[in-house]
Amino acid sequence: MRLLSLSSLIWLAIAAPLAGQADSASDPVLAGAELAAVERLFVSQCARCHGMGGTGGIAPSFRQPKLRRAPTDDAMVRVILSGIPGTAMAGFWNLSEDEARQLTAYVRSLGRLPPERVPGDSGRGRALYAGPGNCSTCHILAGDGAGWAPDLTDVGRRLNAAFLRRALIEPGADQPVLPLPSVHGPYPAYLVIEVTTGSGKTLSGTRVSEDDFTLVLRAVDGRLHSLEKTSLKALRKLPGQSPMPSYATAFSAEQLDDLVAYLASLKGEQ
């Protein structure tokens, strides 16, 4: 009779308590059956967003020594059990505190692995961002630019280089999703919609909000259009598309490397 689900996060009720409960030591060494069990837990609970082996995906990589939201083990346990408000990180109420502690120890061990290697020159990438990339037309970075596309100030902390490269080549492929609390999510954060208004005008933009009767669109020029659905002649949703152009042909492979290197270097305030 579950009333609310953890949206689309996979959760599996793990059979028995994991063998060998984690103790409170700050740097427990995981091995053998205990390691296998916590790896299984990680795969079922975390890997969908954080990547197999914690290499990152739509959620941050764990291959970094310091995690801003979880500077201490206790903080990480809290994040696992309660989530991070305003983000897609939901609290895992199906996990016990013991399981959260074991996952914490495992995630810490991932942070000791070598970081992802990023080819390219971030200085040249910065010039591409400011110049021919026209990125600040839509994005904001350390307060500069427009703000309707994702804030890139600390994007290198949140997304790995492989993900960033793919986003530049196929912007519609891995759409960011709206954060919870939508119990029916995940909804794409930038769904492209085309409408024909009552007067026959065509408007194209990304969905800001929608219900059965209303639709708010942001056009490519950043202007907002608040519409009554009943007044529209046509409404077309274009899933898998992005308002962002692909840089696959606009930039050379080296230029893409440079831009990825620049984006991966953006860590925000330390």
Partner: protein, 538 residues
């Protein structure tokens, strides 16, 4: 001081008939007093229909907020209020009860629920869906599995009954059903491996009069559908308020999923009386008949929907019906005297059953069981509908259902029972976002076919109300409270309440003015037409 007191007393005497006396006779004849909303579903037949006809398709466009009650407890309200002679009885999240002046929302009294710090509500929150009223007593179930009787005039406690042990995961979220000196209450907790039951208590004393175990013990009827000790943790919650036929003196109640939810290997057999409708003799608590919608369920498809009672002719023969749009995707019509299956039709696009056999048993498609790798299937665990209410209009003869079209991938995992812990054996991954939708459907209850369909942006969590004015009211996850033409499904009015709606609407009247009420987020919002109602005294 004396002046203040007497002024207050005069005001109360003039304005509020605070002596809420609701004898059984009033509950049996609610259609005589459409101004009130006396039971959870509005009448014993659970039709969620108000005969009030002041608000119509022609004037509903002028419906405006009349007042708002803001809960003091944070957390979304899922309650359906009662209205008795100008007083509204409402429960907040965590089960606090408030009595309000139903004209203005002014608070008359408040019962602050005390819940233990270590509360177990496994698979749901400490929500509460409403109260029951009988004579001058208001009854409320608690998240820690107690039943409390309150004085309707003051909110003071008359008695408390310990229904079950919360440390094992037993909890109460449902509104009780009160009639004939009894308070019938259902239980939640199948995700914790409880053994479910339906209880009846003496309305005066709180003494338990009967208990029907939804999971039979060895030797009891239905026990042949279990093996070993699986019955001890067999689930079978009764977490949504049922209906009652006073002429037959039978209570109809839906029974929830078996435990563990997704791993059926641990409980071979049909697992009666899970995912069934049970017809219980109100005098004795004994089973008259049962009908199992989903034998050996492995997808959490509780039959925890409202059993709607109505009468009519089926194939030329007069019948007394009980209808249920079930969570498993099929609509069922049964004879409520005998339990005979009359018809069943899918009302969403489902893909787990070819159809139903002549007895109403589903004809399963292959490979629909949860697996370790995950099995995609429709509907998802929340089903084609859920706990929120359908509505039946005697005017149109249609059954209105808020339905969910959503799929998911079902997983199976090993599981061992531990007292007071989740006992589910798997999980699901929803196919959510834009791939899922909802609808308000008007079903012809005698054929199960949809007469009209109003699409919803996302699978809803709000119930419906039908009115004598020819309207259907409903709510959306996006916070819109709306009204449709009951005959055609045409949208007529909508209002953004500001929070997800996960509650059932009601209607009532005071001083010739009709009101419609719905809970949204932590508020109860009440609407009426602008201007003076026709014929109302100033």
């Amino acid at each position: 001081m004396r002046r203040t007191l007497s002024a207050a007393a005069t005001l109360a005497a003039a304005a509020l008939p605070l002596l809420a006396q609701v004898p059984d006779a009033r509950l049996r004849d609610v259609r005589r007093e459409p101004a009130n909303w006396l039971t959870y579903s509005g009448d014993f037949g659970a039709q969620r229909y108000s005969p009030l006809a002041q608000i119509t398709p022609a004037n509903v466009g002028s419906l405006r907020p009349a007042w708002v009650y803001q809960a003091t407890e944070s957390g979304a309200m899922q309650a359906s209020p009662l209205v008795v002679d100008g007083v509204m009885y409402l429960t907040e999240f965590r089960g606090h009860v408030v009595a309000l002046d139903a004209r203005s929302g002014r608070v008359l009294w408040r019962y602050q629920q005390t819940l233990p710090e270590k509360l177990l509500t496994l698979g749901f929150g400490p929500t509460n869906r409403g109260v029951a009223v009988l004579d001058s007593t208001v009854f409320v179930g608690t998240a820690d599995a107690r039943l409390v009787a309150l004085d309707a005039r003051s909110g003071a406690v008359r008695w408390t009954a310990a229904v079950a042990d919360n440390a094992l995961g037993y909890a109460i979220t449902a509104a009780p059903l009160a009639f004939g000196g009894l308070v019938v209450i259902g239980i939640s907790g199948a995700e914790a491996g409880i053994r479910g039951f339906l209880d009846a208590y003496d309305a005066r004393t709180g003494e338990r009069r009967w208990r029907f175990h939804t999971i039979p013990a060895p030797g009891e009827p239905g026990s042949e559908t279990w093996s070993g000790d699986a019955w001890k943790t067999g689930g079978g919650s009764t977490w949504v308020t049922g209906s009652y036929d006073p002429a037959l003196n039978v209570v109809y109640w839906g029974v929830g999923n078996p435990g563990p939810d997704w791993n059926g290997d641990l409980r071979p057999g049909d697992n009666l009386f899970t995912c069934s409708l049970i017809a219980i003799d109100a005098a004795t608590g004994r089973l008259r008949w049962h009908f199992q919608y989903t034998p050996h369920d492995t997808h959490d498809w509780d039959a925890s929907q409202i059993p709607v009672l109505f009468d009519g002719k089926f194939k030329g023969k007069p019948r007394r019906f009980v209808a249920m749009a079930n969570r498993n995707g099929f609509y069922y019509l049964l004879d409520r005297v005998t339990g005979e299956f009359l018809l069943g039709e899918p009302y969403i696009r489902q893909d787990w059953a070819e159809g139903l056999d002549p007895k109403g048993r589903p004809i399963l498609r292959p490979n629909t069981e949860p697996t370790e790798e995950g099995t995609p299937l429709t509907p998802n665990l929340h089903g084609a509908t859920n706990w929120y209410s359908p509505a039946f209009s005697p005017g149109t003869g249609l059954l209105y259902v808020a339905s969910r079209q959503m799929s998911s991938r079902y997983f199976k995992a090993p599981v061992t029972y531990e007292p007071g812990r989740f006992f589910m054996g798997g999980g699901e991954t929803e196919f959510g976002g834009d791939s899922a939708q909802g609808a308000v459907q008007a079903l012809d209850p005698l054929s199960g076919k949809a007469r009209w369909r109003f699409p919803l942006f996302s699978p809803p969590w709000a119930g419906l109300l039908a009115t004598g004015g020819g309207l259907v009211f409903g709510g959306t996850n996006e916070g819109v409270f709306f009204s449709l033409d009951a005959a055609s499904g045409r949208p007529l009015w909508h209002f953004q309440t500001g929070a997800m709606i996960q509650a059932n609407p009601i209607a009532y009247a005071i001083g010739g003015r009709q009101y419609v009420a719905i809970a949204a987020g932590g508020t109860l919002q009440v609407f009426s037409l602008v201007g003076s109602p026709p014929g109302a005294s100033p």
